[in-house]
Amino acid sequence: MTVQQGNGINPKWLGIIAVLFGILLLANHGNELLKQSVLTPGSAAELFVPADCRVDELDEEGLSQQECELMVSNVQIALASSPQWFRPAMLWLSALGIFFAIFSIGTGIAFVGGRKMNLTMTKFFFAALVAVDLCTFIAAVNTGPLLRAQYLWPTLLWFFIHLTIFAVVMSYSTSIEQENS
């Protein structure tokens, strides 16, 4: 069988990809917002309060004593390796990420449903998603190695996913402009 050439970009394909990744991104940024709201500086883990590992709780959760203690260390890692600016930066970036993820879902639904779209706005918002990933990546680069290990790779994956979608939107827009001219 030979590979056959298709006729340009199908907006429905672009739409469903935008919806799928929009939903996943919404969950991702929603969780980041929750994380930054919960892990606050000056809380018990940062004050080196020892872990409270009751035997009944360990049984219930299926944890060892060491795992229970490491859960506190996990919070200490997040707090100790975050520069002062990191938490507010991540709160802003995840809030922006949530906004643009909702836009991505809405745009995707419109693309698949065959509704009229403002392509300039669409290009702007998908470029904004790439920009949010880029800013998150830069923010993570400027923290310590412990946070970099947590953030850099998933952020890079999101960056390339959004860059791909943005490139598809750009080529779709160009082909529409050429058709109309």
């Binding site: 429905k12 969950a27 883990a45 360990l58 219930e60 859960m71």
Partner: protein
């Protein structure tokens, strides 16, 4: 091909999808937080939010099941292809697993001795005093139904992508607002 769906059902579908994925990702993260004690209160907000969203999803799914049953009753029964029957099975399984997941989560919480307050407003009844055995039983059911739900969702998304890339218009009704 089926006709257009009510807009409310389309909106509820996408809200449920977003909520379910948030529940998955946030639960994986929150279970790595320190165990609760007087000093360590990190789990309070995430667990409360998890319960709030979980109970809301359960209510939404009950509404969606009711809408589905009503629309089936009002429609003439036509012969269905094997793929359509499979799609029906996938939907029923998804609804069943979401319901089982949410109910087992609520029951586990109920037997753990922690109160369930929906969106910090409505107190849900606890079924009995704290019961370790029932708490662990419902917690296990919660975990396994959620894993099964994730598998069914993966199939659901896979099928949606398949139909989209085939351009067969089978999923377009889920995108008409």
């Amino acid at each position: 091909m089926e006709g257009p769906l009510p807009k409310s059902k389309v909106v509820l579908h996408w809200l449920t999808a977003a909520a379910v994925f948030f529940l998955f990702v946030s639960s994986w993260w929150m279970l790595a937080l320190p165990l609760p004690s007087e000093n360590f209160t990190y789990r309070e907000l995430p667990f409360q939010l998890h319960k709030n969203i979980g109970i809301t999803v359960l209510i939404v799914v009950i509404v969606m099941i009711t809408m589905r049953i009503k629309s089936k009753m009002n429609k003439p029964q036509l012969a269905r292809t094997r793929l359509e029957k499979l799609a029906d099975l996938d939907h029923m399984l998804t609804y069943f697993l979401i319901t089982a997941c949410c109910l087992s989560g609520y029951l586990s919480s109920s037997f753990s001795g922690w109160e369930t307050t929906w969106w910090w407003l409505v107190n849900f009844p606890t079924w009995s005093e704290e019961d370790e055995v029932l708490n662990i039983l419902f917690s296990d059911i919660h975990m396994w139904t959620c894993w099964a739900l994730l598998a069914v969702i993966a199939l659901h998304i896979g099928a949606a992508l398949y139909h989209t890339f085939r351009n067969d218009e089978a999923i377009i009704k889920m995108f008409r607002l």
